[in-house]
Amino acid sequence: MAPAGQSNVIRPRVISSLRWWIASLLFASTVINYIDRQTLSVLAPYLKLEHHWSNSDYANIVIAFRVAYSLGMALCGRFVDRVGTRRGLTFTVVWYSVVSMLTSLATGFRSFAGFRFLLGAGESANWPAATKAVSEWFPRRERGLATAFFDSGSSVGGAIAPFIVLWIYFRWGWRPAFMIPGVLGFIWLMAWRRFYYPPETHPRIGEDELSMIMADRESDLPAANRKRPRWAELLKLPQTWGTIIARTFTDPVWFFVTDWFPIYLVAKGIELRSGLIAVWIPFVAADAGNFFSGWISGYLVRRGWSLGAARKALVIFGGIGVTLLIPTIFTTNLYWLAFLFGLATFAYAAFSTMANVLPSDLYHSDSVASVSGMGGAGAGIGTIVAFKLIGYFSDARQAAATHSFDPIVITAGLVPFVGMILVLLLVRNTKATDAGLVRRI
């Protein structure tokens, strides 16, 4: 028997590679985040009838989410910086889990749009918070992989959401389908509160791991004494416009898949319960596309390609690949649809990864966030405009039954292609490159 009072001296057991356990928690929060947000789009074909919504009404509900989400992305980073990662993620998960559960009390269009707005506001904080956790826990060389890992939670969450949500829906109805996924967040929260502390105060971190993490932090020094370019100056550069276009012309296609795909499949005459294979394939394909694109462009650079050429090779691959959406208008076969959407989203993800990496390729670190933010704003506006058009055209062409979405998928297939051409024209080395305003690619 140990003498009383001695047990609190014993240190908890050290966990090796603790940082990857932390990354797993971030991955899990991202999975839950996506399950909560996909509940609506998976149930959309049923909720539309239940509540007498047109596709334009549905568009407005998903736009409410996008608006809050885009604003939240801009604002939440600062919030998380103030309160720290532990409290920041606690706050965001509690927020969106509670909102998801409250959505089960919605009574119609207004309450759905209101809850959707609140969900978007809460969910947006997941990415800044998880990115911050990665920067606290991972040495530079591992951050890319750690980020890709937690971010792939969005694909996994999107892929499993239809199975969970439809299963609940057909047993107990739509209200529990919002309630039960909300509970997942609180289960996650118990694990988070128990296991997450910053590395310097974590009771279970080993000496080696801590010293490796801390050593890398000291090398994170601020940039040299160069004057930070103003927005107006950045907007004069063709590279900036190329970067904005790269996001603006690709993001809406992805959000068409996440928010409209179940409605689109039902319009194609596909029974959603037997069509689950098609609902998760685009998510998995996009995830594969992200890793593929990052890996191939790195490989090409190692083979001696210039950074610009390597990035543009993937942009071309993506821009051409997304046009595979167009032949889907000729088929109502579930397997062909899943196959073509899978290839197209794989290509989309390859393009999108390049769109996300271009700011850090082209700009000095004091401008990366600004240009990235402009791209995000462009993507937000592009998505909202696209959703308005999707709602309008799919309502107007309802009578065309399986062909009601034809103009929409044709446009979705061509927009990234046009984006590709513009990126190739605009993103190049110019006089500004020679003057040192932007980096050579």
Partner: protein
């Protein structure tokens, strides 16, 4: 849309009545009332009869709308759909809130008035049949998939009118009215749940055209494939011409 195939008409009708009763009970439990659409035709009689015997349904809180009716046929005629609806459903259950389509009066006025009541709130479940020519309600091919009006006045095609003679409601073709009031396709698709009972060999050709061919106004019931919550109850006779691939998914 889901297809279900049963060994005979009786099994299909019973299973459909079970699902219909569940939907009505669910609506009564969740909202305190149920709004339903009922079809009246030879193929629906067994289904409706079974449904009226289902326990645990407070029919006083069920509001029923009429799918279609001939223009110019008195309610006393054996082929009158109002007569069938009253006898087969309303009187057996004691439903008090029912909206009959009075095809013997001012049809334009009936279409306007009942249409307004119908569109005022969502419909929980619609019971349908499918015609020998693939029609839904009296939307004969080529059906209007676009019109948003809840009810419309339609001219019946000859195949449709021949079917009514075949079912022995009328002595010969000349006695079958040429016009009817029909619920529109878009209005039918607005029901939260759709349940079609389609037994018998004489429907096999239409079933094949609607569920294997293109979704098109030429096969009006094919549009049911775009509804997320529709179930079509077939027997082995009406399913006889379906390909194995389509049957495998049933």
């Amino acid at each position: 849309m889901a297809l279900k195939v049963f060994n005979d008409k009786s099994a299909a009708s019973k299973a459909a009545a079970g699902q219909a009763a569940n939907a009505i009970r669910r609506a009564l439990r969740d909202r305190g009332q149920a709004r339903i659409i009922a079809a009246t035709a030879a193929s629906q009689l067994l289904f409706l009869d079974t449904l009226t015997r289902e326990p645990g349904i407070d029919w006083k809180r069920v509001e029923v709308f009429h799918l279609d009716e001939y223009i110019g046929l008195p309610i006393t005629h054996p082929g009158s759909f109002r007569k069938m609806l009253l006898e087969q459903l309303v009187e057996k259950t004691g439903i008090t809130k029912y909206h009959l389509l009075d095809g013997d009066g001012d049809a334009v006025e009936v279409v306007r008035r009942v249409g307004k009541d119908l569109a005022s709130a969502p419909i929980d479940i619609a019971f349908l049949g499918i015609g020998e020519n693939g029609h839904l309600a009296f939307n004969d091919p080529p059906a209007d998939f676009e019109i948003e009006d809840p009810y419309l006045i339609v001219t019946l095609d000859e195949a449709c009118r021949m079917q009514q003679v075949g079912e022995a409601w009328f002595a010969d073709l000349s006695q079958v009215p040429t016009q009817a009031i029909s619920m529109s396709v878009r209005q039918i698709l607005k029901a939260k749940e759709i349940l079609a009972v389609v037994p018998d060999t004489r429907k096999a050709q239409a079933i094949k055209a609607c569920f294997e061919g293109e979704i098109s106004p030429m096969a009006p019931a094919s549009i049911l494939r775009t509804h997320p919550n529709a179930t079509v109850y077939l027997d082995t006779n009406s399913a006889a011409l379906l390909s194995p691939a389509v049957l495998a998914s049933a």
